[in-house]
């Protein structure tokens, strides 16, 4: 056998570094409410779900699924039912209400859930009965159930695109309302919803066709954010070691700081180093700049600029002026300071417009606000890229 260099074991064997606090917080919330987890892409939301699935809190049954696979409400309902059934393996009799609907389940379940006469079972009915059965499981076994549903926005988008003309948006609204009803009717069965893109973008799309409900407002929002500084450094050190990269003492700290303690960027940055390479702390900033300016790089930071138009429409120029100003400034800036910069950029708008825009930029995780109400880029790496890309 060929001798391998010493990075067996990959990158941490599935352990999620630095997320214990967020995970404990989610479990604590789940005791009372369901959770809507929303944050920037690659911040590590799916990893958090995986860790919860891997190591659930005592007394919880965890069902984790990526809903991007479902294109219709029927598929979604069938998936939920099958997941529940699979989780209760050996105790299928607990699914009494579903059994009343479709008869006794046997063997591998393929395709949509069907009624005894072969017709497709109504999807809302399937969901409602599955949840009712799970509620009884909680009642009888004392064990709680939580669905960890990833890529909920993809599900809704698929539903919109797959339905017959004009029906898609209505169907998506129904799915959202149904999920909300399930939470309200069976509060002992909990959910954690998340996805790569913010659900609010799908909601905004639905609002344009008169959707007036608030399908998330009973859920507790959680934004995991980057790792704490110490955890980011520890993660970087772990990655460097796994990659077999030698460096000065401060290299892990420098890497973590440069990319704003986001585990994805830390890992990807270290992945870009060669196995056995020796690195120096002072070279790392340059190495990062190389990646940030490499047109072929897969970090895809340009989407932070590209999507502004779609997200902010006519306010795009004002958004650019705000982000340019904050990218230039080392310290966080107040509304007044930002307004001065916006005025100097001559992009129009008054202070009230600015306030609204700042809220939107906050909601989309471009910015964060400190205790004194001052604004700064949420991720150091995005600010760094912004400066390079915009030549600031």
């Amino acid at each position: 056998m060929r001798e391998q260099k010493g990075n067996e074991g990959g990158s941490g064997g599935g352990v999620v570094v630095g997320r214990d606090g967020v995970i404990a917080e989610i479990w604590r919330i789940l005791d009372k409410r369901s959770v809507y987890m929303n944050d920037l892409r690659r911040i590590g939301k799916t990893m958090i779900l995986e860790a919860m699935k891997e190591d659930p809190l005592e007394g919880w049954i965890v069902i984790k699924k990526d809903l991007g696979r479902c294109s219709t409400p029927e598929e979604f309902a069938a998936l939920v039912y099958r997941d529940a059934l699979a989780e209760l393996k050996g105790r299928a009799k607990l699914m009494r209400r579903m059994e009343e609907l479709i008869g006794k389940a046997s063997g591998v379940q393929i395709g949509p859930v069907t009624l005894p006469d072969g017709r497709v079972a109504p999807w809302k009915e399937v969901l409602e009965r599955t949840f009712a059965d799970l509620d009884q499981v909680v009642e009888k076994t004392g064990r709680r159930v939580v669905f960890l549903w990833d890529e909920v926005p993809f599900l809704l988008d698929n539903v919109i695109k797959n339905a017959d003309d004009g029906d898609g948006q209505k169907l998506a609204m129904q799915v959202l309302d149904a999920i909300r009803s399930l939470r309200q009717d069976y509060p002992r069965v909990k959910m954690v919803l998340t996805g790569s893109i913010g659900l609010h973008h799908i909601l905004a799309q639905l609002r344009e066709v008169d959707y007036i409900n608030s399908p998330l407002n009973d859920m507790k929002p959680v934004a995991p954010g980057p790792l704490a500084a110490a955890d980011g450094v520890a993660f970087a050190a772990q990655m460097l070691q796994a990659r077999g990269v030698e460096g000065d003492d401060g290299c892990a700290e420098e890497i973590a700081t440069l990319v704003g303690h986001v585990p994805f960027y830390i890992e990807s940055f270290v992945d870009g180093l060669r196995t056995g390479e020796e690195i120096r702390r002072e070279d790392l900033e340059g190495r990062l700049a190389e990646r940030l300016t490499d047109e072929d790089d897969d970090w895809d930071l340009p989407h932070y600029a590209a999507r502004l138009h779609r997200y902010f429409g006519q306010k795009e120029k004002m958004a650019l002026a705000v982000l340019d100003h904050l990218a230039r400034e080392e310290a966080p800036a107040s509304n007044g300071e930002i307004f001065e910069a916006v005025k100097a950029a001559e992009v129009g708008g008054d202070l009230e417009d600015l306030r609204k825009l700042l809220k939107l930029l906050h909601r989309d995780h471009y910015l964060e606000k400190d205790r004194d109400g001052r604004w700064a880029f949420r991720l150091a790496i995005v600010r760094r890229w912004w400066r390079l890309d915009r030549g600031l």
Binding site: M1, R2, Q4, K5, N7, E8, G9, G10, S11, G12, G13, G14, R41, R42, T46, K64, K65, D66, L67, G68, R69, S71, E75, V108, I110, G111, P112, D150, E151, F154, N158, K161, N162, S196, I197, F264, S268, D271, R274, T275, G276, E295, D296, D298, W299, D300, H303, A306, R307, H309, R310
Partner: protein, 896 residues
């Protein structure tokens, strides 16, 4: 092709014996080892990493996958825990369900005892949705706790075919099952690799939708084209494999390397093309190779590139076609003319083509030069253009670049070359007969034409060496020699220049160039005799240009001067001055040097005359005139002619084109003279000018600042003076001696104004920051200790601290010297016998036997003993030199 040559399949490395692939594998940044390690970790650990390799056609992607599988199969621990599905690269999948079916089918082929067609058949009965679920479950069940490694190529095309829905389904399975590990290859790091909502049939289109299904999912590695070293490595491995030691030897030579470099431009660094072309190097049977080569182009490459061209807009396609027809890189302007379009339009389209991976741009001066990224595209376009019986240009070019005319003639005449082979060999031979290997040379000259040999990069220097080796032309050899000399590779430089000197038929001018520069290289190697001999040969060389002769004479004169032969030196300068056709610059240099030499010989009149000659010399460069004026000014000053001196400096200041350094020197000197003449205002004005002068060296700025500080101090402007001294200290690049002087002035100012604390703070700063620690630092700090109290207890802590401070910055010797100088203060009667004993005792305790302090402490002990006893015999125990130091400190007269 593989029928005739089953040995290495160019298009299907996965059907080639992996052992053979291992033998020709060229490591690029540990790419393969890295990939194996990552996949292995995904198989054995909990976390999965999906890998994506991106590179143009023929960049070695399939080769890499083949070796990855080969090495995994040899890994006993990993192979049991994985099932490998390597998908046929020519098939595509229109849905995710179909992709799963392909995966399963690949498993049936690889593990027939575990996976069966029967099990797969059921999927087709269930339709697309049912089949998907069935296959996911089936794979999960059958693969079980193991991993499923899926190897697939043309990943970009697959994602296009799957569409958004299929991508999301696949992603969900990857996320939820944790079963599958994907290693994929793609030809482009496409914007759309994972982007949804792309227009069907136009995978190059960039859309604004940023929500990518597979964003951040893959660890992406770019397979860059082979560099020259890597290409040489590959060709050597191929030659070894084919048992051709002569070729291996040739590839190890400089000329071989030069050929590989020339080939690099033809092949674009594409490994597959190297493999294909290498066969024409090693195979005798030319005809056998030509047909499969043409087939490869006709059947494999052309359809592919035609398809890619179809994706482009008409204007983009036209630009690519023009670039296909050109062997040279082209500027925007030239391209715009060719297609009758506006430059800004063409520029915009080229930018898009670059982003899409069709073209590369290289900066050359103000312009960007564009060329095709993939040379295979040019090859295929030639076919598209109804080639008929025309031979493929690339292959003819290859023959012209790699072979000498004689070698090809030998092949032609040797018989065994059929009609097909002759179609290629004949045009190559004819071209070589008519114009020689101009193509090879022009390829090698790319990127080094007009390069500055004094400042070229390592890569450019390597190219210059290769070019010189290949052409052997005197001009190229001289450039290589000069580049080597500038890089400090003096023996290499000597070698190239010697080849020029010894070559027949080289012009006298080139020989003179080579000899002169070899002389310089020999001087730098410490070979004074060799140096002078080379200059001498230039001087004697018939037909050598006067400029070269003059330069050689000037340099020989300098060398003779260094050797202590002033007469010979001056004789050389005389010859330059008298030499017909000698450039004014060389005459001026000779005159200045002769002037200096005359001055050293005491002939001040002669010296002045030479400088004056330069000043009047028509055509003398401003730099030489400035030097002459400066030197004459100095001499005039020495002779007491302050007016004349200032006038000369003034002329330097006014001289158009005079180097900033010369002007700065003149200003500093004039400032000093003006000061001496009592014109303080004028003096300071000169120093001010130096500080404003762009290009003035740090040295001159420091002199000006320091001098202005002194002048200000003398004017009573202590604050201004201190500010100037402070600037000297802070100035980056200031000479350490000047810094020490400025610090000294500052210390004196503090002392005079009785700012004792400031003075001592300054001393500590000097110790901490400066390289030179003047005597007053130790004196001041020792005084501080002495004046701060009396007796061991009082001194102990302070002495310890002072010792550590000096020790910490490596200046204990200075402290030792200070202790000896301090004896004079002790003598003044401040301390009684016990106090003296305590003083020396405390130091002995603190410094112990530290080597740097041994002498100082010994002298201190002797001095204290003398002070206590008043007996000179205490001093006589010291060696004479040491005794002198103590006596000097105690201000004792030598009674001897």
């Amino acid at each position: 092709m593989s029928k005739r040559d089953p040995f290495i399949s160019r298009f299907s490395p996965n059907r080639t014996d992996p052992e053979k692939l291992e033998q020709i594998h060229v490591e690029r940044d540990d790419l393969l080892e890295d990939a194996v390690a990552r996949v292995r970790a995904s198989i054995l650990g909990k976390k999965r990493k999906h890998l994506l390799f991106v590179g143009q056609r023929g960049s070695g992607k399939t080769h890499l996958l083949s070796l990855l599988v080969h090495r995994l199969r040899a890994d006993g621990e990993a192979i049991d825990k994985v099932r490998i599905a390597w998908l046929n690269e020519d098939e595509t999948s229109l849905s995710y369900t179909e992709l799963l079916a392909r995966v399963y089918r690949a498993l049936v082929a690889a593990y027939p005892e575990e996976f069966t067609e029967d099990a797969l058949a059921k999927a087709f009965e269930l339709g697309v949705d049912g089949g998907r679920q069935y296959l996911e479950d089936l794979l999960a069940e059958q693969v079980g706790e193991r991993r499923l490694l899926v190897l697939l190529e043309n990943f970009d095309a697959l994602l296009d075919a799957l569409g958004e829905e299929g991508q999301r389904q696949w992603r969900a399975f990857l996320q939820d099952s944790r079963l599958m590990v994907v290693v994929a290859t793609a030809q482009r790091m496409t914007q759309g690799m994972s982007k949804v909502n792309r227009k069907k049939g136009n995978p190059e289109e960039k859309l604004a939708d940023e929500e990518k299904t597979f964003f951040g999912f893959f660890t992406v590695t770019a397979m860059s084209p082979f560099a020259v070293d890597e290409a040489a490595q590959l060709l050597k491995k191929l030659a070894r494999l084919k048992g051709d030691p002569e070729l291996v030897e040739f590839l190890d030579s400089r000329r071989g390397r030069a050929r590989v470099r020339a080939l690099r431009y033809l092949s674009g660094g594409n490994p597959r093309l190297y493999i294909v072309l290498s066969e024409f190097i090693t195979k005798e049977s030319f005809d056998e190779l030509v047909r499969p080569f043409e087939e490869m182009v006709d059947e494999r490459l052309t359809p592919y590139y035609q398809e890619r061209l179809r994706w482009l807009s008409p204007q983009q396609r036209r630009l690519v076609e023009v670039l296909c027809q050109s062997r040279e890189a082209m500027t925007v302007g030239v391209l715009a003319r060719e297609v009758f379009a506006a430059e800004n339009t063409v520029s915009g389209q080229l930018k898009k083509l670059r982003e899409m991976g069709y073209v590369d741009a290289t900066k050359g001066g103000r312009e960007s030069y564009y060329e095709l990224r993939e040379p295979l595209m040019r090859l295929s376009m030639q076919v598209k253009g109804a080639r008929g019986e025309e031979p493929l240009g690339l292959l003819v070019d290859f023959l012209k670049v790699w072979f000498e005319r004689e070698e090809l003639e030998e092949r032609l005449e040797g018989g065994g070359v059929g009609e097909l082979g002759r179609r290629y060999l004949l045009p190559a031979v004819e071209s070589l007969r008519e114009e020689g290997p101009v193509l090879r040379y022009s390829l090698l000259r790319r990127g080094v034409d007009g390069v500055d040999v004094a400042s070229c990069s390592d890569e450019e220097r390597a190219r210059l060496y290769d070019l010189a080796e290949e052409t052997g032309e005197a001009g190229d050899l001289i450039n290589a020699g000069l580049a080597a000399g500038h890089a400090g590779a003096l023996q290499v430089a000597d070698g190239y220049l010697t080849r020029v000197v010894e070559q027949e038929g080289v012009s006298a001018e080139e020989v003179a160039w080579a000899l002169f520069n070899r002389g310089v290289a020999r001087w730098r190697q410490g070979d004074a005799e060799g140096e002078m001999a080379d200059y001498g040969r230039v001087v004697e060389l018939e037909g050598a240009p006067a400029e070269q002769v003059a330069k050689a004479l000037v340099n020989r004169g300098v060398a003779r001067g260094r050797q202590g032969d002033p007469e010979g030196e001056m004789a050389d300068y005389d010859r330059v001055v008298e030499l017909e056709g000698a450039p004014a610059e060389q005459v001026a240099k000779a005159l200045i040097n002769r002037g200096v030499a005359r001055g050293e010989q005491g002939d001040v009149e002669g010296e002045m005359a030479d400088y004056s000659w330069v000043v009047e010399l028509e055509g003398a460069p401003a730099e030489q005139v400035a030097k002459a004026l400066h030197n004459r000014g100095v001499v005039r000053g020495r002779r007491g002619d302050a007016e004349g001196e200032m006038a000369d400096y003034g002329r330097v200041v006014e001289l158009e084109g005079a180097p900033a350094e010369q002007v700065a020197k003149a200003l500093v000197n004039r400032g000093v003279v003006r000061g001496q003449q009592g014109d303080t205002e004028g003096e300071m004005a000169d120093y001010d000018l130096v500080m404003e002068l762009e290009g003035a060296s740090a040295d001159q700025v420091v002199f000006a600042l320091y001098n202005r500080g002194v002048a200000r101090e003398e004017q009573g402007d202590v604050e201004g003076a201190m500010a100037d001294y402070g600037r000297v200290v802070e100035l980056e690049g200031a000479p350490v001696g000047s810094v020490a002087k400025a610090r000294g002035r500052m210390w004196r100012v503090f002392r005079v104004s009785e700012k004792i604390d400031e003075a001592r703070k300054l001393c500590r700063e000097v110790l901490e920051k400066d390289q030179i620690v003047p005597d007053w630092v130790a004196d001041e700090l020792l005084t501080e200790v002495l004046s701060g109290g009396q007796g061991s207890e009082s001194w102990q802590g302070k002495v310890g601290e002072l010792y550590e401070r000096f020790a910490g910055h490596g200046h204990l010797d200075k402290l030792g010297e200070g202790l000896v100088r301090q004896l004079g203060t002790l003598e003044e009667g401040h301390l009684n016998a016990k106090g003296l004993e305590d003083w020396v005792g405390v130091w002995e305790d603190a410094a112990g036997d530290n080597e740097a302090m041994v002498v100082g402490l010994r002298l201190l002990r002797a001095g204290v003993n003398y002070l206590k006893e008043g007996q000179r015999r205490e001093l006589l125990r010291l060696p004479k030199e040491e005794r002198a130091l103590v006596m000097q400190a105690l201000e004792l007269e030598d009674e001897g």
